[in-house]
């Protein structure tokens, strides 16, 4: 038998070798391979020394306390079908935003101040919208591989409802010169249309197509980053030294 390759030794170490008996026999006879295997064992055994922070017996309970409310929220959301009222709320916010721009004619420093306030109103709405969109994209991107059909009724319906919001926000962002937000919403809209027009049950091939759409545009990441930036812009400016707030 020739000397044993590193790959064969790795499989032997993990108990996954199909030729364990013959390799064992070779190791008995061959000093060079025995030495090589010892070196491999030493390194892999050393890896076990990498420390992991300890979590006590109560950790599971603490995790449950952190997620319990969110699970409750997900349940409620499912029954309450938030997407029925969310577009209406979104439309209201954006209408208020646009109405402010068209009807109110402030003068002097009020212009900049009011503009900032309206931008923040828009950002709040867009931030929520991106968060909801991210959930839909993440659900599809991370759906487990499956045999047969996968039911995406929820995702499809959410995408369909998010589309109306998306159009409104995209147009508003574009009209107010917020090109970065408008571009992300533009990409998002195309994928939301694809999802909304998919069948309620998709094959693994169809799911791959949707994933491809999401991945090729780097959409999930763009939405995450934009959502995070928008959230930061939602935070009102710190009070000025004289105690006045904007």
């Amino acid at each position: 038998m020739n000397h044993i390759s590193e790959e064969q030794l790795v499989l032997l170490y993990y108990g996954e070798s199909d030729e364990a008996a013959s390799i064992d026999q070779h190791l008995v006879e061959c000093e060079a391979c025995r030495k090589e295997f010892r070196a491999l064992q030493l390194v892999l055994n050393t890896v076990d020394s990498a420390p992991v922070p300890e979590r006590g017996a109560e950790y599971g309970r603490a995790v449950w306390q952190r997620i319990e409310k969110r699970i409750g929220k997900r349940k409620q959301r499912r029954f309450a079908q938030w997407w029925i009222w969310a577009p209406a709320m979104a439309a209201l916010l954006v209408t208020a935003f646009l109405a402010g721009r068209l009807t109110h004619k402030p003068v002097g420093t009020d212009v900049a101040k009011n503009q900032q306030i309206r931008e923040r109103i828009l950002m709040v709405a867009v931030g929520d919208h991106l968060e909801r969109s991210q959930m839909v994209l993440a659900e599809l991107s991370n759906a487990p591989d499956h045999v047969g059909k996968l039911d995406i009724t929820d995702e499809r319906q959410m995408a369909s409802e998010l589309l109306d919001d998306n159009r409104l926000y995209r147009q508003t962002a574009r009209s107010t010169g917020n090109t970065a937000v408008a571009n992300v919403l533009d990409d998002l809209e195309r994928v939301l249309i694809e999802i909304a027009h998919s069948p309620t049950e998709v094959s693994s091939g169809q799911l791959d197509d949707l994933r491809q759409q999401i991945e090729s545009r780097g959409l999930l990441f763009k939405v995450r980053v934009m959502g995070s930036e928008v959230r930061q812009q939602e935070v009102p400016p710190a009070p000025q030294k004289d105690g006045k707030k904007l």
């Binding site: 993990y14 070196a39 890896v47 979590r55 995790v63 699970i71 997900r74």
Partner: protein
């Protein structure tokens, strides 16, 4: 234990949140260990634990009892960790800088390894192991962690990550090669 877990899964699927709580309590520590080994970061590991159970809850109806519930959770956790690591790698330059710093630290360790002080030496080896794990690509690290620490078979890992058996095997081989390259110089001192 697995029978109890199986019945808890069934009850959780039927909407029993107490049953799901039992599953969370039972598996949280294992998911944390896996997540920490994959991300190398405590805060990220906490995020992974939380997101894993939220996703598991949402997808309970998709769980097929062909694999154990723990393996199914590992699959969700490892895929989410992979996303997290890839996202960082792609969009942050920090990783690159970190690797340079780690490389410097590694070189110093190799040169300065003290002979008699085993405690200090042990700590340095652990640092070096962490740095060596950070040198692996996301795919290599995931496959290696699932095989080495969690004891999943190569076939199970391939199915979990959707990469197939051969690609998984090669990820593990590459991971082992890199670990040997980085660790043998310092481990050699112990021999």
């Amino acid at each position: 234990m697995e029978v109890e877990a199986g019945s808890a899964v069934e009850r959780a699927r039927a909407g029993d949140s107490d049953a799901f709580r039992l599953l969370v309590e039972q598996h949280s520590r294992a998911i944390f260990r896996l997540a920490f080994r994959m991300t190398g970061n405590e805060q990220d590991a906490e995020d992974v634990v939380q997101e894993t159970f939220l996703r598991a809850y949402k997808q309970l109806n998709r769980y097929e009892a062909r694999s154990s519930f723990a393996t199914w959770l590992f699959r969700i956790a490892s895929n989410y960790s992979l996303d997290l690591i890839r996202m960082r790698k792609r969009h942050e330059d920090k990783r690159e800088r970190g690797s340079d710093e780690e490389r410097d630290i590694l070189q110093n360790i190799a040169v300065d390894t003290p002979g008699p002080d085993r405690v200090v030496y042990g700590a340095q080896v652990r640092d070096r192991v962490n740095a060596a794990l950070d040198e692996l690509s996301p795919q290599e690290r995931t496959a290696f962690v699932l095989r080495h620490f969690e004891g999943l078979s190569i076939e199970e890992i391939g199915a979990s990550l959707g990469t197939g058996t051969n690609a998984t095997k090669h990820s593990i081989f590459r991971a082992v090669q890199k670990l040997r390259k980085n660790l043998e110089p310092v481990v050699g001192h112990a021999r």
